[in-house]
């Protein structure tokens, strides 16, 4: 499994799934970085996105609106989006604003990847 860091956004690919890591505070700046990374991954052929929130402590409403934009883009391109390792407070926020109806939540990255692919995936770096 290869990993790249682009504009402070960590990501790696597992098959046709791109895993993108959100930072500790998801706001306008960090949200836009994730958005750019996700777009890049989709343009590079990713068929699914896992956005991992294991480092994320706080999310603000601008960050959430950007996540919705990412979901829109993914849906238009026929890609799936899974959020992984989201803490309970952030889940509560996503619920409040209706995000959870558009994405699958997974307990962690492995579960997310498992949901997206029934067979064990082969990790490889793509892009960057």
């Amino acid at each position: 499994m290869g990993e790249s860091i682009n504009s402070n956004v960590r990501s790696h690919c597992v098959g046709t799934t791109a895993v993108v890591y959100a930072s500790d505070y998801l706001n306008k700046l960090t949200g836009e970085r994730i958005e750019r990374e996700c777009k890049k991954q989709l343009e590079s052929g990713a068929r699914a996105l896992v956005i991992d929130f294991s480092d994320t402590e706080l999310v603000n409403s601008i960050g959430i609106s950007i996540l919705l934009g990412i979901i829109d883009i993914a849906e238009k391109g026929g890609a799936l989006v899974v959020f992984s390792d989201v803490n309970s407070e952030t889940v509560q926020l996503f619920d409040m604003l209706g995000l959870t109806r558009h994405v699958v939540l997974a307990a962690n990255e492995q579960e997310a990847l498992a949901n997206l692919s029934p067979s064990p995936p082969q990790s490889q770096a793509i892009g960057h």
Partner: protein, 759 residues
């Protein structure tokens, strides 16, 4: 005059003993403290002069005399000088010379510690002989200089010389504290010297502390005309005595004059004499001299009419009129004009019509009207002359003078009629007073609304009764504290009696209804402008539907006729409203409260001042907008919340709410200083956070937000462009209470999180 020292000090100029000086104790202390504080601090920048702005007949002389006595007795480095401009002087020059004489007399009396000298009649040469050795040189020089000035040709220079005499006291030992009384008399018609202005300038140019007292309209006018920095002067306003002080004054004066009174006559005198220390003292002195008991309305009114027709009251009003119009013919015409203008509801007279009727030139009429205006016997705006609001005593005097002088009616008939009127009016005066005392303080309460949030049930009798009837006050209070169904009151900026809007409300009494102009949500826009029409409904039992309908029709009719667009009717009935009446109120969007609800509301509405306990546990943080600085706020609030033992989940919610509020403040306010102001207020069971910023008040922000949200939609109904604006929704979901505080600019969002067992 007793100058012996007693437990209250020596009585020197005071007409009553210190312990009998009633109603102005706070003002006395302020003057003494001002004098002592100003001593030796002329250049400190602190105001060294006090203007006492006096309502007519509110009385200031005794206050200044008592101040004189206290300072004289304290034997400090401050020499009190009290000068009341005498009625007997007719020119500015003679008045100024009298001032010089009084100044030296009182100065030497103080330096020699001989109070009796203050009352002596001495020439300047006599005073030089009495001057103590330490002051002999400068006093001799002053008198010599005066004698040179006196025979000069410049009267104005002489006036200035006399008025500035206190500045010639060498400052090394003592400093004079001049108290100038009765400035309104300083307009000598035969003089080209603007004496009032010279007084103001001389006092202000010297470095000594001083008091300048006089009728408010005159003093303000003189200070303005004198030019200079009027803001450097402190102001004290003296009005008529309040009912309590007036009662005490009557009781004390009656005891001193050995006049028998009872509670009923005392209360009548308080109301009838309009709380004026001068009238009260005059009446009791007259009763004492005539050995009359004032123990019945009849005795009071008999004395009143005697005084009005030929006693002290008569002399006072006559002297005012003579001052205003020295020529008898003009005086008679003025009395006629004032009497004709008196009937209630009559429109103000035109200045031009007065000029024609008086057959005088404009300048003379202008001066005459100005003097009446200063005495507050008329209100003149330059074009119209209005006499509404003048004293009942004055109107009684005018009427009697008119009938006697102009109509030439027999004196016996006039006396009998005035007395009959006074007797008929006495019970009405007292009834009016009792009604006023018992009336609900509607205007005071409305003035406290100030955009505060209160439980909605306080404006709905049936809802309130269902929840709280038969419940203890403590339980009611606890229930209301926990009530989340709140209504935001408007910010009231003007109140008036309903009678001022419509005479249809007059039969119910002036105090029964109020018109309150306000802005809802504290936002000054056309759509937020609202007028509350509030009325107290008289009903021994729960007010019924018929009565409520009558009031609603009446108030709504008044609103229509007055062109009021957005209104809120609020009726208050002592025992509340019947269910049918309550339904009617609801159907017409009106509020209805019982006396109990009104009282609770009064208790709950603070004056807007933060309580001491509110600021005791408060943290404040100011940081620049941008650069993720909202995280600093989140970290700070996290530390505060931890101290209160909030759970991790609650802390996260608070942090998120703070972040959202900071983002809102940054995005919405066009802040000039680009700063966010935060206040964390810790109480036992809650954490309140206020996030504010300067700048514009966004049009769609915080306006009528109760029950509404900035954005009520979620992801499903949002396009990507409209997904912003969820901040307020998040805050409202995460916090227990969220409210926009009223601010003049920018935004101020207050949010509260309660500490619960599981939070």
């Amino acid at each position: 005059m007793n100058h012996n020292r007693n437990e209250y000090g020596r009585q020197i100029l005071g007409r009553v003993r210190r312990d009998e000086f009633i109603g102005r104790t706070a003002e006395l202390e302020r003057l003494i403290s001002h004098a002592k504080r100003s001593n030796g601090q002329a250049s400190s920048g602190e105001a060294h002069g006090i203007l006492i702005l006096l309502a007519p007949l509110a009385g200031v002389s005794e206050l200044l005399r008592q101040t004189f006595d206290s300072l004289f007795d304290s034997r400090e480095e401050l020499v009190p000088i009290y000068f009341a401009l005498p009625h007997t002087e007719t020119t500015a020059v003679s008045a100024a010379i009298e001032f010089l004489n009084t100044f030296l007399l009182q100065y030497i009396a103080y330096r020699r510690d001989e109070p009796a000298l203050c009352r002596a009649s001495l020439t300047l040469n006599d005073l030089v002989k009495l001057a103590p050795a330490a002051d002999l040189v400068w006093i001799e020089e002053l008198v010599e200089a005066y004698n040179r000035q006196r025979f000069g040709e410049d009267d104005r220079e002489l006036v200035r010389f006399c008025l500035t005499a206190p500045d010639r006291v060498p400052s090394k030992d003592v400093r004079p504290f001049v108290m100038f009384d009765a400035v309104q008399l300083a307009n000598y018609s035969d003089s080209s010297i603007p004496f009032a202005i010279e007084i103001v300038r001389s006092l202000r140019s010297g470095g000594n502390p001083f008091v300048l007292a006089g009728l408010r309209r005159e003093v303000l006018d003189a200070v303005t005309r004198a030019g200079g920095d009027s803001e450097a002067l402190a102001v004290m306003r003296l009005d008529q005595l309040g009912d309590g002080d007036a009662r005490n004054l009557i009781t004390a004066a009656a005891r001193r004059q050995q006049v028998s009174i009872n509670d009923e006559t005392r209360d009548l005198l308080v109301q009838q004499l309009e709380g004026s220390p001068f009238f009260i003292t005059a009446m009791l002195q007259a009763a004492g001299e005539k050995r009359l008991a004032l123990d019945s309305y009849l005795a009071c009114e008999r004395l009143y009419v005697d005084e009005l027709m030929g006693g002290r009251l008569n002399r006072y009003f006559s002297s005012v009129l003579e001052h205003v119009a020295p020529e008898p013919e003009t005086r008679a015409s003025v009395i006629r004009l004032l009497c004709e203008a008196a009937p209630e509801g009559k429109r103000p007279a035109q200045f031009e019509s007065w000029r024609r009727r008086l057959k005088l030139d404009s300048a003379t009429v202008e001066q005459l009207v100005r003097l009446l205006h200063i005495q507050e016997l008329v209100n003149c705006d330059g074009e119209t002359i209005d006499i509404t609001g003048s004293s009942t005593l004055w109107q009684d005097y005018l009427k009697s003078r008119f009938r006697l002088d102009a109509l030439r009616e027999p004196r016996a008939l006039v006396v009998a009629d005035v007395m009959a009127d006074a007797l008929k009016r006495a019970p009405q005066t007292i009834a009016h007073h009792y009604r006023r005392a018992a009336s609900l303080p509607l205007r005071e309460l409305l003035g406290k609304f100030n955009s505060q949030l209160v439980p909605r049930c306080l404006f709905d009798y049936v809802d309130f009764a269902a929840a709280y009837k038969g419940v203890t006050a403590e339980e009611v209070s606890a229930g209301l504290d926990a009530d989340t169904n709140l209504v935001r009151l408007p910010q009231v900026f003007h109140t008036a009696s309903g009678v001022s809007l419509s005479s249809a409300l007059r039969p119910f009494g002036e105090e029964s209804s109020v018109v309150a102009h306000a802005f809802s949500a504290g936002v000054y826009t056309n759509q937020n402008e609202i007028v509350w029409l509030v009325a107290r409904v008289e009903s021994k039992l729960e007010a019924n539907a018929a009565l409520v309908e009558k009031w609603l029709d009446l108030l709504e009719g008044v609103a229509r006729k007055s062109g009021l667009i957005r209104t809120q009717v609020w009726l208050i009935a002592n025992e509340g409203f019947s269910p049918e009446a309550n339904d009617l109120l609801r159907s017409r969007n009106a509020f209805g409260s019982s006396r109990q609800q009104f009282d609770i509301l009064t208790d709950r509405l603070s004056t807007g001042e933060p309580r001491q306990s509110d600021t005791a546990n408060e943290f404040q943080l100011i940081f620049p907008m941008g650069a993720d600085n909202e995280m600093l706020a989140a970290s700070a609030v996290e530390q505060v919340a931890r101290r209160l033992n909030f759970t991790a989940e609650a802390i996260n919610q608070i942090k998120t709410a703070v972040i959202e509020a900071c983002i809102n403040a940054s995005e919405h306010s066009l802040s000039p200083d680009r700063k966010i102001y935060q206040r964390f207020q810790v109480e036992n069971d809650r954490l309140s956070i206020t996030i504010s910023s300067r700048g514009i008040l966004p049009g769609n922000f915080g306006v009528d937000t109760e029950g509404e949200e900035e954005s009520t939609t979620t992801a499903e109904s949002q396009t990507s462009d409209s997904r912003r604006g969820w901040g307020l929704k998040l805050i409202q979901t995460l916090m227990d209470e969220v409210e926009f505080e009223r601010v003049d600019e920018g935004t101020s969002l207050r949010m509260t999180k309660y500490l619960r067992q599981n939070s």
